[in-house]
């Protein structure tokens, strides 16, 4: 096995193109578990932690360009105001040690249906920037990034450069069900983003389908029913109906962490609560 350690983005892309057998490693919180347990023996590790571009975030035209290698701890510390949904989700990841190393790019790279970064990125309408030395950069909406259980549209010669996340225009929420308050893979998860600027509701479901996914019909339904102008209270029946429609958008399975029925039920509850909390926040802000 080789250890490739590029110190620039161009060198990283060149290494990725030359060595299809190399496994990129960022925080290592997924990769090292696989190596430690002999589940994977790549021909090389491609260490991305020395590529400065991946560890930066910038803001332009209301969009945060979050480098793939920015760890959760920095999302929480530096972006809680601009990307509240993602920061809330980041706070639920693992433990302080995991949040110090684990990155949003690595979460996308693993493409687990339970990845906590995915639902808020879906709700915010984020895009993933993928780059190869041969073909340059392309941008994929997060909703089109996931291709199946732990699979994505990332090509073997591509690296994830960044995620482009619109700055929050309204309140956002993230809810996650697990057996304790730390160190849990979500049994189910739900993210919501209110977009009062265009009167839309963004949604993201985690751990309740083969891939993270949105609940577009439920979002459109709620956006159509909300009184955006007068911001009157959200009736409980409406919130509950939204919850049911979110649950209908999932296709969960039974597994060791929970049953399909419980996943649907908890999604309905989380969606109802998230909508109520976010709408109340918006009303208070007015």
């Amino acid at each position: 096995m080789d250890f490739l350690q590029p110190s620039s983005w161009d060198d990283a892309l060149a290494a990725r193109a030359e060595r299809p057998d190399a496994l990129p490693i960022a925080g290592g919180t997924d990769v090292m578990v696989e190596l430690n347990f002999d589940r994977r023996r790549p021909g090389a590790l491609l260490d991305l932690t020395r590529v400065p571009e991946l560890r930066e975030w910038t803001l332009a035209d209301g969009v945060v360009r979050l480098g793939a290698g920015v760890p959760y701890a920095r999302v929480i510390g530096e972006l809680g105001d601009r990307l509240p949904g993602l920061a809330m989700a980041a706070r639920t990841v693992g433990s302080p040690q995991i949040r110090a190393r684990g990155t949003v790019g690595g979460n996308l790279g693993s493409a687990s249906p339970a990845g906590d970064a995915h639902p808020p990125l879906l709700a915010a309408g984020a895009q993933v920037e993928l780059v190869s030395a041969a073909r340059g950069a392309r941008r994929v909406p997060v909703a089109d990034f996931f291709a199946g259980v732990k699979r994505s549209v990332l090509e073997p010669d591509e690296l994830i450069a960044a995620v482009l996340v619109p700055e929050a225009a309204g309140p956002q929420q993230y809810c996650k069900v697990g057996t304790r308050n730390a160190m849990v893979i979500a049994v189910s998860a739900f993210a919501l983003a209110l977009h009062p600027d265009r009167q839309e509701v963004g949604t993201g479901i985690g751990s309740a389908a083969p891939t993270p996914r949105r609940a577009p019909e439920a979002g459109q339904f709620l956006a159509g029913e909300l009184n955006w102008a007068a911001r009157t209270p959200l009736p409980e029946t409406l919130a509950a109906e939204f919850g049911r429609r979110v649950a209908d958008a999932a296709s969960p399975i039974d597994d060791v962490r929970g049953s399909a029925a419980y996943r649907r039920h908890s999604l309905a509850v989380m969606a109802r609560r998230a909508a109520t909390w976010a709408w109340d926040d918006l009303r208070r802000a007015a």
């Binding site: 096995m1 490693i25 919180t29 590790l45 260490d47 995991i98 110090a100 730390a182 160190m183």
Partner: protein, 156 residues
């Protein structure tokens, strides 16, 4: 491959490092520093916690090569001039050590907390130690130890 890294203030070099091996293996098996413990090798227990460039991380989840040119501080590097670190002293006095396997990780985590938050609330202590498992103590004495170290630090 060869890995050179600064450990507890001293530059250390190891040869014949397998590229897929962890920083934890490097520290324990090649550099003779058995303080950080190996219990789960999957980030769940925190017993391997060390500082990497000033930040507590699970050494089992860092590839050894990723530590090249970085600064690592292990539990062995906390005591100064033969005197225990205040957090270590507090662990001993509060009875927070039983089998001791989790202790190095907890001591590193607690010392980081007290550097950042000199007078932590109970929820802050619990949050900081959420990634460290202990099978013996039931955690109460560990919380006592952190409170004791914080109180002493405040009094100084």
């Amino acid at each position: 491959m060869r890995v050179t890294t600064t450990v507890n203030g001293t530059e250390r070099t190891a040869d014949d490092v397998w590229p897929g091996e962890s920083l934890l293996f490097l520290l324990r098996e090649r550099l003779g520093l058995p303080g950080a413990k190996n219990a789960c090798e999957q980030g769940e227990c925190g017993s391997c916690t060390v500082y990497l460039d000033g930040e507590p991380v699970c050494a089992c989840l860092v590839a050894a090569g990723q530590a090249t040119g970085r600064e690592v501080t292990t539990v062995e590097g906390l005591a100064e001039g033969g005197r225990l670190h205040p957090v270590q002293e507090a662990f001993v006095e509060a009875g927070a050590v039983q089998c001791g396997f989790c202790t190095p990780g907890l001591v590193v985590m607690a010392s980081d907390l007290l550097e950042r938050v000199p007078e932590p609330s109970d929820p802050e202590i619990r949050e900081a130690l959420a990634g460290n498992l202990c099978r013996c103590t039931g955690y109460e004495k560990i919380l006592d130890a952190v409170r004791l170290a914080a109180a002493r630090q405040a009094a100084r």
